[in-house]
Symmetry: C2
Subunit: 108 residues, 2 copies
DNA sequence: AAAAATGGTAACCTCGATGTAACTAATGGA
DNA sequence: TCCATTAGTTACATCGAGGTTACCATTTTT
């Protein structure tokens, strides 16, 4: 669990993984799809995800350079879990009213 | 997804949730079970998890005081997902050798 | 009279994650 | 000759999560 949350626990990693879902994207495309991320941080995150074997990096010796990123098989296995997490996160307060601290809930 | 990773994306939250699994624990017990956490940060995390409806707090007007923490129903729904995440995190490099960057893998 | 037990709070510090802006190398094209 | 393109890198600044230590209120026990 610690290992997994180390990977998906930072600000951008889950978004990058989601954006990369089933496709291969170039660095510049990622920088557009992952809205708000700086190129520097995108580079760092991709390096980290590559080193952790979640993302695969393919570099082509062309001018101008081309680098393509995609999920590894292991990285793809994260998608359904991320999806569950997403569903869970959206379910808040649908069934949390049966708790005893209803009085406190007006403050939230 | 952003909401969910906001909750489980910090250092202690997943551990607290796991430790709290099916039982009710007092503050002092939590401070022992969640090894390494400071009382200050434990307080902060519990407040945050309570506010986010993952954890329920019950305070008893006794001397010395007694406060019990447990998971809400919604919080309990997180357990199987956390468990999957844990399994996924442990699976690394079992099936990641079929990637092309085998040469690079010796460096990891 | 003082210590023990409990669940905190307050003031302060550190460090890592993230952000900003400018810069680079290599080549093709105007 | 100079600009555009691409995938970064470098040198900063900032911001918040987390850590440390000391302290508090209340009652029972010694």
């Amino acid at each position: 669990m610690i290992h997994a949350t180390n990977i998906i626990g930072n600000k951008w990693a889950p978004i990058i993984i989601y954006v990369l879902e089933e496709r291969k994207l170039r660095f510049g495309q990622l920088a557009v799809f992952v809205e708000g991320i700086s190129r520097k941080v995108l580079t760092e995150q991709l390096k980290e995800l590559e080193q952790k074997k979640v993302v695969k990096r393919e570099s082509f010796a062309e001018i101008p350079p081309r680098v393509e990123y995609s999920l590894t098989e292991w990285g793809k296995e994260l998608l359904p879990i991320l999806s569950q997490l997403c569903t869970w996160g959206a379910n808040i307060s649908i069934d949390s009213d049966d708790e005893k601290n209803i009085e406190l809930q007006k403050r939230v």
